[in-house]
């Protein structure tokens, strides 16, 4: 038995209606796919962006604010860490890398971030171009920054964010320092791709603060002179081992400082998101279910026009199963084609949303269609296969004679 010719003929007869059904199924599936994929991408992307920020030390306050500011480079106003504590943390040998993160102005829409050569190198892995900065007049840029190697620029007037309104009485000379770009980082998929990274010493200097070293010293990076270290919004540490990380976290949990793993903050955030995700998943599934049901209602309406035709087929010797599969096949066609188109559509939406999101945050969202999305589409198809038995069974049960007489 091969009901395909009949299925194709019927679909052709109602082509536009069936395409409309298919489109509706595709849109419902596509939205579901896009939502689940982007939700997963948001987790992955944001977690990956925080990957290299093992442990953060900051002044007591909101951990989320510190994460947003130090990792995602969102402008904020976290309080500065106590200078003595800053100095102790920066010089702490138990951390392989201990780097301040401080903020300057921006250039061509890219924030200027001060840190140490160690951390810049750690973030970049190896260098896409050039090398890390070695003096206060050198800078490196993230992969997406619109500057070129060798470009000169001036960390212009009034630094945007210093963590507090510093008494900006720094002199013009310091301001008129020309920086030039000596290295470009590999893409990291983090907001740092859009950052111009300079020595923290420069940030301190243009703000008229001590630079952590003797006044005439051009040194950058560790060790810092505890007497000359100003406060910073955050310090990021990269300890050797998990044990060391926990040890350091305990050390810097003091009345004047907090120490935390950004990953834990994200997990808490995802917990909240998780509930939303569950709700969204149910909503997406409910929408898809409704779409399939309304599509079924449409098919049933169309089928009632075909009762006579099915009766004729029976009179010509078609088995009841043939009628069943004629109808089943039509609905399955809509469900399968709709679901597959929905997968494409959903991927498309996900890619667009990712691009927009990456453009505005710097966090690269892997718009990956993964197991969850395939399951969603498979679920849609299975639901279609099962739901299709409904009108198929109705047609199967049509009494032949009454249908032959009808019309």
């Amino acid at each position: 038995m091969n009901p395909l010719p009949m299925i194709i003929a019927t679909i052709r007869r109602h082509l536009w209606t069936y395409l409309l059904f298919t489109l509706v199924v595709a849109i419902a599936t596509g939205i579901g796919v896009a939502i689940t994929s982007q939700e997963a991408a948001l987790r992955k992307g944001s977690a990956r962006a925080a990957d290299k920020f093992d442990l953060i030390i900051a002044a007591p306050g909101s951990q989320t604010d510190v994460v947003l500011e130090a990792i995602y480079l969102r402008p904020g106003t976290v309080p500065l860490l106590d200078p003595a504590m800053t100095a102790q943390a920066l010089n702490d040998q138990r951390a392989k890398i201990a780097s301040p993160i401080g903020f300057g102005d921006s250039i061509k829409g890219s924030p200027i971030v001060g840190t140490t050569p160690d951390f810049a190198t750690y973030l970049s892995g190896n260098w896409a171009q050039g090398r890390v900065f070695q003096s206060e007049t050198e800078a490196v840029i993230g992969s997406a920054v619109r500057l070129k190697m060798g470009d000169k620029f001036r960390p212009s007037h009034g630094m945007a964010h210093t963590g507090h309104d510093a008494d900006d009485d720094h002199d013009e000379e310091q301001h008129n320092v020309d920086l030039h770009v000596v290295g470009r980082m590999n893409p990291t998929g983090t907001p740092w791709d859009n950052a111009v990274i300079v020595p923290i010493e420069l940030i301190w200097r243009v703000h008229g603060l001590p630079t952590g070293h003797a006044p005439d010293s051009q040194q950058i990076g560790r060790p810092y002179d505890p007497a000359r270290v100003p406060g910073v919004p955050a310090i990021v540490m990269h300890p050797d081992s998990i044990n060391a990380a926990y040890g350091l976290r305990n050390v810097y949990r003091t009345p004047v400082s907090m120490a935390f793993f950004p990953a834990e903050v994200l997990v808490k955030l995802y917990d909240v998101l998780g509930d939303v995700r569950t709700i969204m998943n149910w909503l997406a599934m409910a929408t898809q279910g409704l779409v399939v049901l309304s599509m079924l209602a449409g098919v049933v309406a169309i089928l009632s026009l075909h009762r006579r035709q099915f009766a004729v087929l029976r009179a010509l010797g078609a088995p009841k199963a043939y009628i069943f599969f004629c109808v089943w096949g039509q609905v399955v066609f809509i469900a399968v084609l709709g679901a597959l188109l929905g997968l494409l559509l959903g991927s498309g939406i996900a890619i667009i949303v990712s691009m927009v999101f990456t453009n505005s945050t710097g966090i690269s969202l892997p718009a990956i269609i993964g197991a969850d999305e395939y399951w969603l589409v498979a679920g849609m198809i299975v639901f279609g296969l099962v739901a299709a038995t409904l009108p198929a069974f109705l047609a199967y049960r049509y009494p032949v004679i009454e249908s032959l007489r009808a019309g």
């Binding site: 038995m1 091969n2 009901p3 395909l4 010719p5 009949m6 194709i8 003929a9 019927t10 052709r12 007869r13 006579r308 035709q309 004729v312 087929l313 029976r314 009179a315 010509l316 010797g317 078609a318 088995p319 009841k320 043939y322 032949v400 004679i401 032959l404 007489r405």
Partner: protein
């Protein structure tokens, strides 16, 4: 024809419909025998049970009482799938309104019954379909049957009915939607199918041009066969 036509025998047949007013006896035939190869016409006023009779002997409806036997096989006791197979290969059906699939070509329409049985159409069946269409003079290369004249469409329907070379052909008002000439051609074909090929052909019709060709007729009136409640119909 691949098999000898089976003899039809109807015993004590009653088809009763439930109407609002109560049960309506649409058909009541105590005895009827039709020998193989007969050409038989049934006439009668509208609503007299002619179509009901055809559906009953084709095993498309379950009679309220009695049995229909073709070549010794009782339709009412056949399992449904066996009966479907039997119908495909034993009975060809032609309707007043052709009931072709407008989306399909003439050839695809004729071959449609093949899809009830197999995944793909055998070369032999395809050749048979082409032979039938050619034999009936249908311009079968048209993309769709709607491009054909009504007479041509009915001949496509005839070819479809004959695809599996059934020994029995049932036709319900086959010429009623045709003009005189096309009706004449179809009538001739039906006559040939019986007289030359030995098929049992049972035709329900009001069309004098068709009925007058057929020697054996009987009249249904309110479900009853006339003139006698029992008639022996032999060629």
């Amino acid at each position: 024809m691949k098999s000898q036509a089976p003899a039809l025998s109807v015993r004590d047949l009653k088809v009763i419909y439930q109407d609002q007013a109560g049960p309506v006896t649409a058909l009541s035939i105590p005895v009827l025998n039709v020998s193989p190869g007969s050409l038989l016409a049934i006439t009668g006023p509208s609503g007299s049970g002619k179509s009901t009779f055809l559906y009953a002997i084709a095993g498309l409806l379950r009679p309220s009482q009695g049995e229909v036997t073709w070549g010794g096989r009782i339709l009412q006791t056949m399992p449904e799938t066996i009966r479907d197979h039997w119908r495909r290969h034993t009975i060809g059906f032609v309707f007043q309104d052709f009931h072709l699939m407008p989306e399909l070509s003439p050839l695809a329409n004729v071959l449609l019954p093949a899809s009830f049985e197999n995944l793909s159409v055998s070369r032999a069946l395809k050749e048979r379909a082409l032979m039938l269409l050619e034999g009936f003079g249908v311009p079968y290369k048209r993309a769709s049957v709607v491009d054909l004249s009504r007479g041509e469409q009915q001949r496509v329907a005839l070819a479809r009915a004959l695809l599996f070379d059934p020994p029995v052909l049932l036709a319900d008002e086959p010429t009623a939607s045709l003009d005189a000439l096309a009706g004449e051609q179809v009538a001739q074909t039906l006559e040939d199918l019986s007289k030359q090929e030995g098929r049992t052909v049972i035709v329900v019709s009001h069309d004098p041009a068709l009925i007058n060709r057929i020697g054996t007729r009987f009249v249904l009136e309110r479900g009853q066969a006339r003139p006698a409640a029992s008639m022996e119909l032999v060629r």
